[in-house]
């Protein structure tokens, strides 16, 4: 499987990961290498190989609808960079 540099650039933008222009080619090559490794693994013939322990047949457990959490706002907000009137403050997100 191949991957193009502009795809890497787009994914980086969507993921809000900054890749400097001079790094882009190298990052693309490294990811392409990983994908090649995956292709290699996919190509292995596993017929007749007993699967390892895996969670594929496990199903989700559900919890009862009860309130179990208490208000710990003070503790959480003590480590927030900026708070006011109980709100977390972040850089303005609309123009």
């Amino acid at each position: 499987m191949t991957v193009k540099q502009d795809e890497i650039e787009k994914i980086a933008e969507l993921a809000r990961v900054r890749i400097a222009p001079e790094e882009a080619a190298e990052v693309t090559a490294r990811i392409a290498n990983i994908l090649t490794l995956v292709d290699q693994l996919q190509a292995v013939d596993t017929d007749g190989v007993e699967p390892m322990a895996n969670p594929l047949d496990a199903v989700q457990r559900l919890r009862a609808d009860t309130v179990t959490e208490i208000n710990q706002r003070e503790a959480f907000q003590a480590i927030a960079p900026a708070v006011e009137n109980g709100l977390y403050l972040v850089p303005k997100v609309i123009e």
């Binding site: 969507l14 809000r16 710990q72 977390y88 403050l89 303005k92 997100v93 609309i94």
Partner: protein, 488 residues
Amino acid sequence: MNWEVVIGLEVHLQLATRSKIFSGAATEFGAQPNTQACAVDLAMPGMLPVLNEQAVRYAVMFGLGIGADIGLRSVFDRKNYFYPDLPKGYQISQFQAPVVGRGEFEIQLEDGSTRSIGITRAHLEEDAGKSLHEDFHGMTGIDLNRAGTPLLEIVSEPDLRSAEEAVAYLKTLHSLVTYLGISDGNMAEGSMRCDINLSLRPRGSSTLGTRAEIKNVNSFRFVEKAIRHEIERQADILEAGGQVVQETRLYDADRDETRSMRSKEVANDYRYFPEPDLLPVVIDEAWVESLRASLPELPAAKRQRFISDYGLSTYDAGVLAASRPLADYYETVVEGCGDAKIAANWVQVELLGQLNRGELELHQSPVAATALAGLIRRILDHSISGKIAKQVFEAMWAGEGDADTIIAARGLRQVSDSGALAALVDEVVSGNPAQVAQYLAADEGKRKKLAGFFVGQIMKLSKGQANPQMVNELLNQKLAAAGSDGES
């Protein structure tokens, strides 16, 4: 050009659970900011979601309510996007394998006709927090109390053709989910929010035009206005030879317009992938059947029963069956008074009228269903006339007691004593010789109208308390006698 409007709706319904979909924090509305946002809701490192059974139960109940396929194995996915009110950087939602598959339900339009609207799917997801853009020294305030509130996103087929149909769809949906008790349906508190997908195409065309999506409209009235406005906007563009841009728009209620929402946004690419923190949800068929057996009577069935058992019109049945409390109230009145049609009339005209005027909800009504039944019984046994009954109802509304107490205290009991009524009839007939002569000279057709004059006078003289049937009878006898006296 004659355009056909094509609308599909995505409704985000808040489910009425006590705790959040993936955490044990409370969901109560109106709490102080961030007091109901726990470590899971805040996306603290290492926190894991655990699914709320009640949310799954409510979703399945909805599916059963619309006759949909229930996804016996459903999967949660991550929908990735960045916004400060979504601390994880992704919303846990369902993409490939939703809990509710295809279904449909019937909507009733204002004119009484019905249409079947397809539901594509309904899936469980978590709500985001709330951003407050007011003045925080150029910063945005974030309240994460709502983050993690369970939502059922209900996606319709593009089957709706007008603003009226869209509103009828939402009202039917609202009625259904409140009957099921899976949501409080409180629009003002955001329990039911709606995204509108709308496009136009030349009438007769079978391909869809380019659509615009209007986000987060939260009242029936705004949905109607937003749609009307958007139809006009798109028609103007198309008629000027332009093309509608596929984009997200926002309805501004203050200016009554829609406007483009995110100009700089990269085209939506949510990179959905299976949520690795949650295993597939497997639903037991026996559980689904037990839920099916426990469903309450739903609005459509109730409406049908009101028509067939009580002889109500489609319209009346629609109004009375629209909400479960109102239907229950109505049926209590019917049970207490024994006359379904008079009960329907009193509930719709007097009760709903007073509630509207006072801007009250049904549960705030000062007149209980049994008390209204007591009043109607007094009309049915001729103790009071319908007109006097309205006075009594107003007094009941004002808290003066039950019907019998008010009738006794105010001396309103209808006069059914034939001797006393005959005296009143005599007094009016002999006091109006000119009208009597006019009546006798008139032909059969006009007599009915002229007789109304005498009835009016008699009722006035009795302060409205004369038994109208008896008055009519006595008056007819009296006038007939006057006629034969004149001839002899």
